[in-house]
């Protein structure tokens, strides 16, 4: 067992990436994720890795594309406006079926917005990472330990399915410190990458990594094949955690920092006799539809607690097939709902009783 150390969420991501075998990092500074780049700048030269501060976010994501094409584990990180700049590259990565890890430590938007925590890139991450038909696996850590664990998991899933995994965190998760253990003996799976561009040695046909398909029937085929893979991911990779759901009559749905705040509110509500629990999505895509649908037959109401204007609400409604009402408890623009605000919403959902 490795000793637990205190690390910022951003640092935990960086160290876990190195643990996962990532030796190539490309980025451009932006609050509140710059510690990732700073950590990589310190560590990479010592382990014969590459740290490169690109001239822009767009340059960084295209460098990621280049390394991904060689089959090496590679990552970039940014925060909301910076991720928007990367969206063209994200689409190209998808079109070329390349694995990569992209971290978004979200801040308030739209536009240049602010620098305080937010979850308002939910749509961007889960539905609109870029142009064209494609998905990204979206992982939403709620603990610094999960920042590390899901980074390792993200690299694994990216390689397994040849696609981009995104860590969707927020300013709080990036900046806070908690005990974290990055296990020395953590199992890192490696994957054969016969498609990688590594030099043929004149011994095989050369590989081509490309996202351009001018013949529509060919392009259609790649899209359909990709969506068959996505279907498999939806069936097998959804992750979530249940909290006090056994006898719950109200179900809070929250991820990341919103789940941490909600947990306090739920504990307090339980003390007051309100039967409330939480389903915390750990993957936002694939969205954990099954446990939500199962809960819909047991609870009276859902409350989505978010740091956005309610971007997750429709995913909950779809998952539960609108069987029960979904209410929203939110703060935006860098504000975080307090446990008291969430508790008030829970009480209201409980019909004002208690």
């Amino acid at each position: 067992m490795t000793e637990k150390v205190l690390m910022k969420g951003n640092e935990a991501i960086a160290e876990a990436a190195i643990k996962a075998g990532c030796r190539h990092y490309f980025g451009y500074p932006i609050t509140p994720q710059t510690e990732i780049a700073a950590y990589m700048a310190k560590r990479m030269p010592k382990i014969e890795g590459t740290f490169l501060q690109a001239e822009s976010e767009i340059a960084a994501i295209n460098m990621v594309y280049g390394v991904a094409a060689t089959g090496k584990r590679v990552m970039t990180s940014s925060s909301s406006p910076g991720i928007a700049l990367k969206s063209e590259g994200l689409s190209y990565l998808a079109g070329a079926d390349l694995p990569a890890l992209v971290v978004n430590v979200q801040r308030g938007g739209p536009g240049l917005g602010g620098i305080q925590p937010s979850q308002s890139d939910y749509f961007q991450a889960t539905k609109a990472g870029g142009h064209g038909d494609f998905r990204m696996i979206v992982l939403a850590p709620a603990f610094v330990q999960e920042m590390a664990d899901l980074t390792i998991k993200g690299f694994d899933l990216a390689d397994k399915y040849r696609m981009t995994s995104m860590i969707l965190a927020d300013g709080t998760m990036g900046q806070m410190m908690e005990p974290v253990e990055i296990r020395e003996d953590a199992e890192i799976t490696t994957y054969d990458k016969p498609w990688a561009v590594t030099g043929t040695g004149c011994k095989r046909e050369h590989n081509i990594v490309n996202s351009l398909f001018l013949k529509p029937d060919q392009l259609e085929k790649t899209n359909i094949e990709r969506y068959e893979r996505y279907k498999l991911i939806e069936e097998s990779e959804a992750m979530y955690e249940e909290f006090m759901m056994e006898d719950a009559e109200i179900c809070v749905v929250a991820f990341g920092i919103a789940a941490r705040v909600s947990q306090n509110a739920i504990v307090e509500a339980r003390k007051q006799g309100i039967k409330v629990g939480m389903i915390r999505p750990i993957t936002l895509w694939p969205f954990p539809k099954k446990p939500l649908l199962a809960a819909a037959d047991k609870v009276n109401k859902f409350i989505s607690v978010e740091l956005s204007m309610g971007q997750m609400v429709e995913d909950i409604e779809l998952a539960i097939r609108c069987k029960k009402p979904v209410e929203l408890c939110n703060r935006v623009g860098g504000m975080i709902p307090s446990p008291e605000e969430v508790l008030a919403k829970i009480k209201e959902a409980n019909g004002g009783k208690n």
Binding site: T31, Q116, Q175, R260, P339
Partner: protein
């Protein structure tokens, strides 16, 4: 002990974040559940800085301390801002060298520590943070003081090892006050 929600606030450069880290690390070595969350933003030396530290026997939910049961105010803006946020019965520690006013609330316990002056007196003018932390540990018992060195060693980088003794001296001065 159940849960301590601690808020440490002051000017950037007073070692507010460092003091919080020191506490969090000490808690970790005592197998407590801990979290440390800094204010971040366009802060700089001379601006305001604060950090939330939670030490608990049970898993930490929200890492944000908006209603502290222990408040350390290292400057007047911090006391003005957070005095009314503290819970009833909170312990409030004040650097009385820099803050001349008294706590207005009557449902909290106030401790006035001339930390900045004491730090200068012991030859460690930058360690008012450690003086006030020493006093706070004495009054709350949040962590074990006898082994405080363990926490300090974790946060003082090797290249600054010579600062360890001085930090300990400041902690003790506050503790023995």
């Amino acid at each position: 002990m159940s849960t301590f929600n601690i808020l440490i606030a002051g000017f950037g450069g007073q070692g507010v974040l460092f003091a919080g880290k020191c506490l969090a690390y000490k808690g970790l070595t005592e197998n407590k559940q801990v979290s440390w969350l800094p204010s971040y933003g366009p802060e700089m030396r001379g601006g305001t800085a604060n950090c939330s530290v939670i030490l608990s026997d049970t898993p930490v939910g929200s890492p944000i301390v908006s209603n502290p049961d222990v408040l350390i105010a290292m400057n007047l803006p911090s006391l003005d801002k957070y005095e009314n946020e503290a819970v009833s019965g909170a312990k409030i520690f004040i650097d009385s060298t820099l803050i001349t006013r008294k706590v207005e609330r009557e449902d909290v316990e106030a401790f006035y520590v001339p930390a900045t002056k004491m730090a200068a007196d012991i030859g460690a003018p930058t360690l008012a943070n450690m003086i006030i932390i020493g006093k706070m540990i004495k009054e709350t018992g949040v962590v074990d003081f006898d082994t405080i060195e363990v926490g300090l060693k974790k946060v003082i980088p090797a290249r600054k090892a010579d600062m360890l003794e001085l930090n300990l001296k400041a902690l003790k001065a506050g503790y023995d006050l």
